[in-house]
Chain length 440, copies 2
């Protein structure tokens, strides 16, 4: 049996790989070979990427693709996407093209407020606590001056510090619920640094507050951390056109198509089993841009899905309407993004992605990302209510499998024709190719 | 102004890049250079990666790292993680090491049921519809035989087809709510292919069903698609130990630490602003393994966050208890994963990641991924309730910024010391380095 290892993180990259290869793979040589195949020739660049995280042994490739022809507020964008799933970039491009001559996408930032909290336990009078917090608010702000001064120079900073009594949820539980404006930074480090300073000030000041009893002075800070739930850091994107312009397939009239779209969105609004998948498709578009621009997709995912569940039932993030012969389709999503700090300046491809997007502010990036989500959803529902989702998806999937099995161009042609009428599950494709080859 | 482009997808990779460079970047030469720097030398391998999606122009690097020393059900694992965020692999490794001599992680698969639905509109008697569905159920199953036979040979397939009356949610709205066992496949293609066949059979049979009125025969299928909401494809992972073994920091006693952990988890259970961030941290661990093993993180994210919101309020995915001097910490998450099909066999690094994990079945992978999430959460809460989150995070962040600014080893030393006591926001680091350099 493999034994535990001491000091793994202190080994060199080669030593780490050797240990992994020897202990967890059948063929050490082959393992080494694969991992090194993915290293960059440029050792300085490779070192940069290695140091983004700990114990890096290679580079995991996500395809970096481009979806062109996005008209957003009358400006044309080509959107970079980093994603491993086939059809996502194709669907985005198709939706962009479809809306290009119909006025494109219109977007609006509704808010940019970010949230952080100091969670603490206070055993005593909540009225006295409120008076105390009101008294120390200027001190809380003043003590964090060293952290906030640069952000303030640029027009951001702490926008409010509020006491929230949560004792109904948990005995003696209170929060400093704080709001921030972090401009073009995602702001996690800024907010967390402010909050940890607030916590220190809160403890110090409560110890010295004469009106508190001995018990009341023992404020116990549980933790200080930003929230990824940002319902007021919100952006809206929309498309609309006269129903008659909705010519998508010969088999379905524009009016029928519009009705099918609206009905599909309604279903995603009332049925959680559908809503989750509907929103998952939206996230295909959103995450691809979030990744390409060096933002944190886990933060974005958590904030968006919680927003989808905010009224007690998990619902669709997009909406559709049909009024006065106008079809309207829109999304509202919370997006806390940054275009400075973090990976944005460190990762050369992220830097390039932002350049391709015309060096957007965080507000502009919010709008682009929301559009990518809306476009993705339009394309997905369009497929679902017309040809079905499998037709487009399986074509790419089929090609991937055939490539992997080193199919010749002739074999590809035969099997693409075959699988127009048959379900191309992985095993069915493997079998069909084997049959084809054994019949020759 | 840039103009739209026709037939972008049909251009060669070089032509695509040239168009992007000319239309969306200031320096075409530099753009070309950066994109090509990330191409793989091996053109066959590069072609494979290019063809995963559409319009690929380069490879987006995610660091591929290793977290060793995970003892799961008495077996030692080194877990591959693909993630761009610093501290995630370090935190996972630290948590693995901590639990290594305390019995490690215990896991259990609770269910593996996957869901798909045919959504349709039926105007007529719901009783008659129920009789009809019961009558055609064998035909539904029989018609999909070509799709299901391979899966059935291996022990999986369709496990139930049930009519759900959803007319209270939306007029005339019904579903075929279907359950599947897809074994080691994630199953999206299998399930979607089955559902599209069900839809075809449903329409054909309803047209021919004598007991239906003319209206009732016009069943209108809105869409057929799997659900990423999989509350019964569920796995549990747990750690536990006597309280006295919880020696984590000199500054806090084991009992005090255990109480702080339990309280922090309780807060994440009752306060959505905290729960979203708490679960985001869990997803740092989960997604890193999901990505490294070629699974679809958007599907996993959507399913898990909806599960966190299932009782009407968004809550923590982990739980902690303190009973009879035993500290227990566990997670239950839905995870629909595959270890065959999709990218698992196509992407060489995914193939290697699965080899490093000892070629797990999908059930085993569910358990490993749940452990990664639990470990991540343990490490995060441990930091939050002791030193605070910033200390560990900023060290990595600081080094990244210093590397980017080509700081010398001497400069690094000075500034690491400086930022032990000061908040290392991006601008503060840049400023401090500039000051340091101008003072020389």
């Amino acid at each position: 049996m493999t034994t535990p290892i001491q000091g793994f993180s202190k080994l060199s990259k080669e030593e780490k790989i050797n240990w992994i290869a020897d202990n967890y793979t059948d063929n050490s040589e082959a393992t080494l070979e694969i991992l090194k195949t993915y290293w960059n020739e440029d050792s300085v660049l490779q070192k940069l990427h290695d140091e983004f995280i700990e114990n890096t042994i290679s580079n995991y490739y996500l395809p970096f693709g481009i979806a062109p022809n996005f008209l957003i507020n009358n400006k044309l964008y080509a959107i970079p996407m980093a994603i491993e799933e086939s059809s996502v970039v194709a669907a985005a491009s198709k939706a962009a093209k479809f809306w290009l001559d119909k006025g494109g996408f219109k977007t609006k930032v509704i808010g940019t407020q970010k949230i952080g909290q100091v969670h603490f336990i206070f055993k005593g009078s909540s009225e006295k606590l409120q008076v105390f917090i009101d008294k120390i608010r200027p001190i809380l702000i003043n003590d964090s001056r060293a952290i906030t001064q640069n952000m303030e120079k640029r027009g951001g900073g702490i926008t409010s510090i509020e006491l929230r009594d949560q004792t109904k949820k948990l005995d003696n539980y209170y929060q400093l619920h704080c709001k921030f404006e972090t401009l073009d930074a995602m702001g996690a480090n800024f907010i967390n640094s402010c909050l940890e300073q607030f916590a220190a000030t809160l403890k110090r000041e409560s110890h010295n507050y004469e009106l508190f009893s001995e018990d009341e002075r023992q404020i116990d800070v549980v933790m200080s951390i930003l929230s990824n739930y940002v319902p007021d850091c919100l952006v809206r994107a929309e498309v609309s056109c006269p129903i008659d312009d909705l010519e998508v397939e010969q088999s379905v009239s524009p009016k029928e198509f519009a009705e099918k779209m609206v009905r599909a969105v309604k279903i995603a609004n009332v049925e959680p089993y559908r809503a989750v998948t509907h929103n998952k498709g939206i996230m295909n578009g959103i995450d691809a841009v979030v990744l390409a621009t060096g933002n944190d997709f886990r933060a974005v995912e958590a904030g968006i899905h919680a927003y989808a569940a905010k009224d007690g039932s998990y619902r669709s993030l997009t909406h559709a309407s049909l009024e006065d012969d106008i079809f309207k389709f829109w999304i509202e999503v919370p997006l806390a993004l940054g275009t400075v700090g973090g990976l944005t300046s460190l990762h050369p491809l992220v830097h390039l992605a932002l350049e391709i997007l015309q060096k957007p502010s965080a507000r502009e990036l919010m709008q682009i990302v929301a559009v990518a989500g809306l476009a993705q959803n339009f394309a997905a529902i369009r497929s679902l209510v017309t040809t079905g989702i499998q037709q487009g998806h399986m074509k790419m999937h089929l090609l991937n499998i055939l490539n992997q099995m080193s199919a010749t161009e002739d074999e590809k042609k035969t099997l693409i024709a075959h699988f127009r009428k048959n379900a191309a599950t992985h095993s069915a494709v493997v079998e069909a190719l084997q049959n084809l080859r054994s019949n020759l």
